[in-house]
Structures are given as C-alpha cells and as structure tokens.
C-alpha cells in the first residue's frame, strides 16, 4: 500500500508542492562534532566536584556504549517507573560478568529509556581509582568511590546512585555459581539510604553472567598484577585480545519496587539489626526477581 499523502484540493496549489526535506544528518553531525571539539579544546564545559563530565559522557562515552546496549546485548528494561523522575534513589543491583559491563548497561538504560533520562551515578571500588586512565575515565563518567560520605552526598543532592554491594565477590565469581547472590558487603548502602531517607530500588540484571563465562581463576597472575582475580574464560587468554569480545547474551534489566527508608528516620542507621534486616530484604528481592527473569528469557542468546 502506498504511503498516505496530502492531496491538494485545488489544482492551483499543485505548484507549491514542497518535497519532504531530507534530514541533513551527516553534515549536522559533523558541525556538532566541531562544536564539541571547540568546547573540549577551550575547556568550555562543566564538571562537578566528583569529577563528573556530562559533556564528555553524553557525546563520547554513551554513544560508544549504545551499540553494545542496543545491538549486542539487546537489553530489555522493565519497571523503569519504579525509578523516580526527580530526587535521590539508591539502585542496588547484582554484579557479575568479570568486567563491570552490567554497571555501564544500567547507566545507559536509565539515561536512554527512563522518561526523565536519569543519570546513574555509580559507586566504584577503590581499585578502579588507583589505576591510571580507568580511574579518571570513571570519574568523568560520574562514578565515585564507594564510601558512605560520597554516597550520602550524591543522594542528598538528589542523584540516582547505583551500587553493587557484592563487589568483587560478585563480579569475579566462577560461571558455575551464576545468578546466586554473594554476601552483600557490610550493608553500608543501607545506612547511606537510611541517613538520607532515600528509597532503595532493587535491580536485577540477567545476561551479564554469560558475557565472559569465568571457568577458572589464575590466582598467581592475579596476585602478581595486584588484581582481586584473573579470569580464565573459554576464549581468554587463549585467543588473546579477541577473547575480550563479550559473548552476545540476551540481557534483561528489571527495576523492582522501591523500598522506602524515610519512615525509619536517620537515627535508624545506627541500629545494626535493622540494617541487617533491610540488607537481607533487598538481597532476597533481587534473588527472587533474578529467578523470575531467568524464566522469562527463552535462551541465553535470544
């Protein structure tokens, strides 16, 4: 069927038929790129006290991650309405995949698919900030050190903060333990939420476990390099750099219902029993929704 078009009712109007303008994509993109280069060369952009550089994130880092999000992992998001449009919230998610691709994909999900285009401010391990390049790049992307001071400051400023309480225990676990949550740190994230009265949003990520299936851990190499683990996957280090290519697993990211913390009051952060209970509640919620998502997924790669 041909496309519908406006049919002029008077023959005189025929002359003024204007062809649909072709979007000048490439040219505009190049002009935008030039403007970006000018801003970068003259330092004419904003950064915040955490070292976050929104200009670089929006124009370089997110466009680099987007193909991975859309084409490679074909990420599907659920429950975005559970993340508030304004104000602080603490997104707590499971961690897996040898390299923290899950953190980056969650960031893209909230930026691209959330109606308010929320920025996810991640909390990273101190190892990240010890390393040159990686540490600086993480800060420019909005990540900061996983410590209570920074988490509380970001939450108070009304940011969405992303935290992975399993840390290296989660991201560096062997493939056979996939989708089983590890211990949730010391519950520091719960105290941060309690002190600031911001909701905790449990988030389950399915798919990241299969990107680099870790079948072994070269402990000696890890110790020599000062890393918490040195992964051996079916392709790495066997195929060299090619082994760094993640497997194209199908991803699902589900944001669960917020767990409200404001009613406990800031003093509740000093009650270890409450903190333990809330930590367990968040952990159980995520584990439960991981099982549900796994049932929804037809196979690992589709």
């Amino acid at each position: 069927m041909p496309e519908a078009r406006v049919i002029p009712l008077r023959p005189d109007d025929d002359e003024s038929f204007v062809p649909v303008a072709v979007p000048a994509g490439l040219e505009e993109q190049l002009a935008g790129g030039l403007e970006f280069l000018r801003r970068r060369a003259t330092g004419d952009y904003e950064t915040d006290e955490f070292g976050f550089d929104p200009d670089l994130t929006d124009h370089v880092l997110l466009p680099l991650l987007r193909p991975l999000f859309q084409k490679w992992f074909r990420v599907e998001t659920q429950g975005l309405e559970n993340v508030p449009d304004v104000g602080g919230a603490l997104v707590v998610a499971n961690h897996s995949g040898t390299l923290p691709a899950d953190a980056l994909m969650t960031m893209v999900a909230l930026r691209d698919e959330h109606p308010a285009q929320r920025r996810l401010r991640l909390l990273g391990a101190d190892l990240v900030f010890d390393l040159p390049f990686l540490g600086t790049m993480s800060r420019k992307m909005g990540t900061t050190l996983a410590c209570n001071e920074d988490a509380e400051r970001l939450l108070t400023e009304g940011e969405v903060v992303g935290v992975f309480p399993e840390g290296f225990k989660g991201i560096g676990k062997p493939f056979r333990e996939r989708y089983t949550l590890q211990r949730f740190g010391r519950g520091g994230f719960v105290t941060a939420a309690l002190r600031t009265g911001k909701p905790i949003i449990p988030c389950a990520i399915v798919g990241a476990e299969e990107i680099y299936p870790m079948i072994g851990n070269a402990k000696t190499a890890a110790r020599l390099l000062g890393l918490p683990y040195f992964p051996i996957t079916p392709t790495f280090p066997l195929l060299g750099p090619l082994g760094l290519l993640p497997l194209p697993s199908k991803w699902l990211i589900a944001f669960g219902e917020p767990i409200e913390t404001a009613s406990y009051g800031p003093a509740a952060a000093e009650d270890p029993m409450l903190v333990f209970n809330l930590t367990d509640q968040v952990r159980e919620t995520i584990q439960h929704s991981l099982y549900q998502l796994l049932l929804q997924r037809k196979s690992v790669f589709s």
Binding site: I7, P8, T42, G51, D126, T136
Partner: protein, 368 residues
C-alpha cells in the same frame, strides 16, 4: 571587640602584606606589627602604611619579647612555607614551619595579653589519594596521612595549635584550611604552574581542583582576625574544575607524561627554580582535592565572591594564552563554513544526479 594590637608573621609575602595593609587601614586597630625574616619589597612597604615592621625570625626567642613588649592580643600566623624553593631547601623549610610555629606558640603561651590566634593552614592536611572521599568536611581526616613535605608540616602545625588552645583555653584559636590560591597578584603553587606555556601533567590522571581567589583569601583572613570565629574552617571557592580543563581554559598546552618521567622533569625544574613537582604535589596533581565550604558560609559567615571558575577567569587576564580560545573559535568556524559549502556542493551534485521526482499530479476527484 576588635583587636587592639595585631601581630602578623610572614608579612613580606603578598598575602601577609596585604592582610597587614588591610588591618592598618582599619582605624579601630591600634597597632599592626609585621614580622618576617626578609624585609618587604619597597612597593609592599608603601602599601603597609602604618604597619610596624620587625625583622625577626620566629625561630628566635626574640619573638616573645616583641609580643610581650607590645602586649599583642591577636596573632596571625602566616609564615608557613609551602615549597622548598621558597625557603632554600626542604630542611630549612621544615625548620621554619615546624620549629618556627613551636617557638611562636611558646611565646604566645607566655604572653597573657594574647587572646586570639589565627592560623593560615591548608587543605593539604587532607592529603590526596585514590581512596579519598570526593569532598572533605572539617570533621574528616586524611585517608592516607601525608608522609612528608608541606602537608605533613601543616598537620604538625595544626596539632601544635590545638595543643596550645588546650593549654590556653582563654585564647580563641581559628584554623583556616585554604584551598589553592589563585589571582593576578598572588604567588602560589598553581599560579607558577599555570604560567608555564607547556604544562606537564601526569598521564592517565586528572585532578579535581578547587581554587580560592586572592581577594576572598584576604577577606577571610581579615574576618578571622577581627571576628569571633573559633574552630577549624575550610576556605575555598564554590565549584571545581578538572586540572586539564583549567589548563585548556587558560590556553595552555597540556603535556601528559608518564609518572616516572614526570618525576625527573620535576627534579629538573626544581633545580632551575621553576615549579616544584615534589611527590606530594604529584599526588595532588593526580587526584586533586575538594573541600566542603558549608561551615565557611554558615558559621564563619563569609561567602566567597569568586567561584573557582570566575577566580580562574580573573587570573587568566594576566596570562597570555598560547592557544587562544578565539583562534580555536575561528578555526572551528572556518571548518564549519567549509563543511557547509561542501554540503551544499554535495547536495547540488546529488540533485543533478538524482533529480527530485516532480510533484505527483494528483487531483482531487470532484463530485459528479
């Protein structure tokens, strides 16, 4: 109650001299006594007005006699050296900073007239490391305690001042932790650093920098000297910049060098009396440091007039950029015009090759 007799140490430096001049201009203050080991420059001397200059070393017990004889009631201690270059090496620098402060405090403890002690300290006491929280409040301590240099000296000095305040509870002690100074007239670590046309930085690192304009630094010192504030306060401008961003804004050329190479460049530049790249400064240039200034704005009651950004702009007036923003602008706008011309050409060629199909001659079907 305003102070009657103020003693300012380190008066031959720009900030100390400016403070003494400001205090001397205040008629409610009876006497202003400036102390330094070197006499102030003639230009500074003219500014100092009725300030009495005493050429003395605070490491010498003579300072006690000066304090007792003039019955000084307020002491502003600013004679703290931040670079070995300024005081002839690391050993004399430590001597001046630590032993000098101890002598000065000993003299103050003996003098019953002293009621107020103001210390010009630094935010370097928080150290600089990858494990730092992004923003330091006054209650926080360094995650990695600085092991040497200016930061260690400052930590020691602060602890001596706290001990002094305990021993003399009738003395109000104010400790001002300043961030990096910048401005057209002041001479600080960063002003020297940014004056170099080519700025070597650490490859793979980018520091968060918080600046304080010299005028704000002066206003805070005056307020701390004459006002009632007691305790410790962070003093810094609102907002931060990344080191690379500041370098670009000043039109400097950043040369990132791997850290080992930077170390030897640092030693070389120190030998020639340029910028000091001590291990401590290196750590600062790697990670940077930001402090929370809520106490400054609420309890201390001063809001800096310059933000980090506007302070840098004010400083930028005095340095001629190597890579001017206007030239970058002209290059990009020229590239843009070339681009749009190429685009026009391409669309014209495209038009020639694939002409737009003529408007479809559809007619409305008229009712019979």
């Amino acid at each position: 109650m305003p102070p009657a007799v103020v003693l300012v140490t380190g008066v031959s430096r720009w900030l100390g001299g400016a403070l003494a001049a400001e205090l001397a201009a205040d008629p409610s203050i009876e006497r202003v006594i400036g102390v330094d080991t070197v006499p102030p420059s003639p230009a500074m001397l003219r500014r100092l007005g009725r300030t009495e200059f005493v050429r003395a070393d605070i490491r010498n017990p003579l300072i006690g006699k000066v304090i007792a004889a003039a019955s000084v009631d307020t002491v502003v201690h600013m004679n703290i050296s931040s670079t070995p270059a300024g005081s002839g090496g690391r050993v004399p620098m430590k001597e001046l900073n630590v032993i000098g402060t101890m002598q000065l405090l000993a003299a103050c403890q003996r003098a019953p007239s002293v009621r107020r002690f103001v210390l010009k300290s630094t935010s370097a006491v928080y150290g600089a490391s990858s494990r730092d929280p992004a923003v330091f409040t006054e209650a926080m301590q360094a995650r990695r305690v600085p092991s040497g240099g200016f930061a260690k000296d400052s930590l020691d000095i602060e602890s001596y001042v706290r001990a002094f305040a305990r021993r003399r509870p009738d003395v109000d002690a104010a400790v001002l932790r300043f961030t990096n100074f910048i401005g057209p007239r002041i001479d600080s670590l960063l002003t020297g650093f940014f004056r170099m046309p080519v700025v070597p930085t650490a490859l793979g690192y980018d520091a968060r920098v918080q600046l304080l304009h010299e005028d704000d630094a002066l206003a805070v010192l005056v307020r701390a000297t004459t006002g009632p504030f007691v305790g410790t306060v962070n003093v810094g401008g609102q907002g931060t910049l990344l080191l690379s961003q500041a370098i670009r804004r000043l039109g400097r050329i950043e040369v990132p060098l791997p850290s080992p190479a930077l170390g030897s460049v640092g030693r070389l530049s120190r030998r020639f009396g340029f910028v000091d790249y001590s291990p401590e400064q290196m750590r600062f240039l790697n990670f940077g440091r930001v402090v929370d200034t809520t106490v400054l704005r609420t309890e201390f009651g001063y809001t800096p007039r310059y933000t980090t950004e506007t302070a840098l702009n004010d400083y930028a007036r005095t340095v001629s950029p190597v890579l001017a923003p206007s030239s970058v602008q002209s290059v990009t706008s020229r590239a843009q015009s070339v681009l749009s011309r190429a685009g026009e050409l391409a669309s014209a060629v495209g038009e020639r090759l694939h002409p737009t199909p003529p408007a479809p001659g559809l007619r409305a079907v008229q009712d019979a």
